[in-house]
Symmetry: C2
Subunit: 203 residues, 2 copies
DNA sequence: TCACTTATATACCAGCCGTTATGGAAATCG
DNA sequence: CGATTTCCATAACGGCTGGTATATAAGTGA
């Protein structure tokens, strides 16, 4: 019996593309948040019926988590890549301009999926909130390690606190997300980024 | 017929204090957001029944707007007062430390009522979102005017953009709110504030 | 062709949502 | 006192929520 990784499934084949449906679901969660997105909203955007959704994705919570995976994989990858910049200033530039591009891209919903779903919610969505908060905590941790190294390498003046800098850059990103969600234009966000980089310590 | 401003009402007097009930409602909206707060949550926290709530406040939306009024009157007054500081740096200090105090006060729910309700929501809460966004826009406008004046008075170096600085300070506040909502400690927020002030332009 | 497996479509479920009608209790006015 | 006005408590409303049972359609392999 040989291993068959790409075997043809036995029963009736599904009539929709799982990846495309998930991408559509992501847009809905991104626009309305977990609680604001109803199953009716989701199925309509995904072009499938509720039983198909449940068969393919489990339930609303599992669907959200898969959408969150997709979001991190496709939309926030610039964050991980930014940490590879040779200098701390380079990291900040890549992070801020990357955020600027994402938040002002007309294809994307306004704001940040993570921020939207980490601020507040009813009781039943609390576990969703915790999951989102945990993910952004690991992202911030990676930033902290990068800036700690940067300080060791002499990227910062003596009086700069790497943890403070990481929190600062995180706050800038979150502020951009909130302002983008409130309808800020790309030009407005651009001024914010340029001001932030002008204030950035060192050369 | 004389004017009687403090006349005794005719029918049965109400058995609860409207102000205390509104304060309780504010706490619920502040913790869970407009959509996350159910009428059951509200009535339980306010200690009244639903008909009493509707008689005294109208409906959920009207109740939220009154809670938002109370929030601005009692919790964000430091913002208006901060603009009276003699220098731009003084304004920034008062704003950031005022935000720090509010976001780290154990009496208050975590985060900012405005940020919570301006990021995303379902269709029926869109008008709430717009109202909140409009209020924060006027707050930002006042900040912009203050920093424009500050630049004229020589508080900033030549290459500083008042609009950028206003957006920057707004972003810092929003970032603090998001991080506080995610469970940041007062010490963490303090480092963020100190870093922000260290980066502030000029003396 | 026939059994088997899986997906789809319709209709439905209990439970909660914001909101309100109804009936009785508590106050003032005449 | 009775009449009137206002408030409280119960219980219900239609509509929407996330989630599913049932029946049928569309593929596979024998």
């Amino acid at each position: 019996m040989e291993i068959d990784t790409a075997t043809v499934p036995k029963g009736r084949p599904r009539e929709f593309c799982v990846d495309a449906a998930l991408a559509a679901a992501l847009r809905v969660f991104w626009s309305k948040g977990y609680e604001g997105a109803s199953m009716a909203d989701l199925t309509e955007a995904m072009g499938i019926t509720k039983p198909s959704l449940y068969a393919a994705f489990g339930n609303k919570e599992a669907l959200f988590n898969k959408a969150l995976d997709l979001y991190e994989r496709e939309k926030t990858d610039y964050m991980r890549a930014a940490l590879d910049a040779p200098t701390a200033r380079g990291v900040a530039e890549r992070l801020m301009y990357g955020a600027l591009d994402m938040y002002s891209c007309p294809e994307n919903p306004n704001g940040c999926l993570g921020v939207i779903n980490s601020v507040a919610c009813g009781a039943e969505a609390e576990c969703i909130r915790e999951a989102v908060v945990a993910r952004s905590a690991t992202a911030k941790q990676a930033m902290l390690e990068r800036f700690t190294r940067a300080k060791d390498e002499g990227d910062f003046p003596e009086d700069v606190d790497p943890a403070g800098i990481a929190a600062f850059l995180t706050a800038m990103n979150q502020g951009m997300a909130v302002q983008a969600g409130a309808g800020a234009t790309r030009a407005e966000l651009e001024r914010l980024v340029e001001t932030g980089l002008k204030l950035w310590p060192g050369r």
